[in-house]
Symmetry: C2
Subunit: 354 residues, 2 copies
Amino acid sequence: MPQIDEYLAANSDRFVRELLEFLRIPSISADSRFKDDVRRAAKFVHSQLERLGFASQLVETEGHPIVYGQSPQVEGAPTVLVYGHYDVQPPDPLNEWVTPPFEPTIRDGYVFARGATDDKGQVFTHIKSAEAWVKTTGQVPVNLKYVIEGEEEVGSNNLEIFLEKWRDRLQADVAVISDTSQFGPGRPAITHGLRGIVACEVTLRGPKQDLHSGIFGGAIANPVNALARAIASLHDASGRIQIPGFFDDIPPLTDAERQRLAALGFDEAGCLADIGVSAPFGEPGCTTLERRWVRPTCDVNGIQGGYQGEGPKTIIPAWARAKITCRLVPNQSPEKVALALEQHLRENCPPGVT
Amino acid sequence: MPQIDEYLAANSDRFVRELLEFLRIPSISADSRFKDDVRRAAKFVHSQLERLGFASQLVETEGHPIVYGQSPQVEGAPTVLVYGHYDVQPPDPLNEWVTPPFEPTIRDGYVFARGATDDKGQVFTHIKSAEAWVKTTGQVPVNLKYVIEGEEEVGSNNLEIFLEKWRDRLQADVAVISDTSQFGPGRPAITHGLRGIVACEVTLRGPKQDLHSGIFGGAIANPVNALARAIASLHDASGRIQIPGFFDDIPPLTDAERQRLAALGFDEAGCLADIGVSAPFGEPGCTTLERRWVRPTCDVNGIQGGYQGEGPKTIIPAWARAKITCRLVPNQSPEKVALALEQHLRENCPPGVT
């Protein structure tokens, strides 16, 4: 479609400008201080769809709104449902950013900003490609439905309710989710599955306040030591998850699956060098690609307790907290895994810590 | 000495006022942002001693200064060396304080402020009791020497150098350290020994930046999980320290020692209720008082890594850090323990984490 290519070329500067505007909105769904910004990002997507003449709606939920958009009906054409999200992950630690997360910067032809590739950039391509069709041919050649949510980074609880309620209106021949990656430069990928997730936060409480470790050290359970012990109990030394029942429902990988993954020619050394890690580590008997794509995990995403400042402070902290997520694979039940995780952590706590 | 008692009673309001002034100085030796305040506290002590007509000196060190004071020579009288410290522990978490740490408040006859009982209050009684003698009888009846340092809360490294250098001038018949507690209300205690300490900070580094746990989870070592595992390896499930060689040099407690401790009639239930802990925990085969006073420990005083904010953030953190201290008992060598601790932590780290 030469006229579409021309339109894209002619408007690319403006597209980039608008994308940067979108990226400037700190739509951090996890952090309630940014609630208004999250809504602002939703409105941005909403107005982008309206400008195309699509029926667009800001659907309220218990949490952040969902943007729904629909192109004018094209009889006989297939229906394509595009899913994306306008919320982003928290950007801290801020001092590790080369340029600030919500001041998009273009370096070497790449846009650097929180959300640029997860998932505002991809959402934007799906809007701008529709715009190119509308502006050059008068309409998109398919029936487009957009569901752009604002809670992907916090578990999409309200999306589930929305999908249930809107089931009929969301019927489609194909669903497109571009919240994924290429396999490598010049190697686009069709992602046909993603791991699920169970997220929890664990707080262990010991004494009602921080105590002097010279006076009480050794006599009561230290919540940080106890939390470390509970976390350590999640894996054995080789990296295999130890939560009872965790692997029960997972069918073993078939030889064919393993061969297909191996045939991709994954550059393990290059990947590790990229991320600055000297050696892989994980479930024994699996390749790095298998561990990354088709095996479940259990990771601490954050931990906190006691004194964080400069120098020593000799205390038994009153509490310790960790954020833990498990990545799940087919047949694992999130409810079952969450329960097993909780029970396992409880069983691995010493007396006097709750 | 009735005239001394009278003087103390007549001046007690002023003494309290001056003490509160001392307590208002945030002399946090661990935190370099408070360097000037630490010096201010040193000067406060220095001027208090000068006002008594004592030879007083601010002795510079590589770190915070040491205040030395000496009363005029009394021929034939014994020499008493008073040790204390004017520095305090970091006061955070600030939101747990009923009243701010450096705004001293008197409630039910007790002074609440950071350092009130550790150790500014005690230092102050040793100065004001001398003042009462000087102002009523013209002199103290002994030869007093004061060594009040500003690095007790960070390991007293420069005190050791000072003691070596000043060895001759510090000769004394008796040394008094009032950086201790009573056994209970109405039960004063002569503390004849304190546990030593080894302090360290451990940082584990994984990837060069935080990574998405859906893309890399399970394939590389997570520094927080690794740190938890290393910390967990410090004890067995019963609470006994597992660092190889840790107990080698410690003579076993004699029956006589154990009986003397037991005879004190320690109120374990009352103590636990006070600190809000439901059960004791520690080295098997020891009583709570033995664990608190005569057995060594290994405690995490603070831990940090990954995302600390509200809600989930699905990352493999780039690093994790813990502050660890061991309390030592007679015959343990700090150097040997530090080395054993370091080696044990290193041996309990998975590949790809440094």
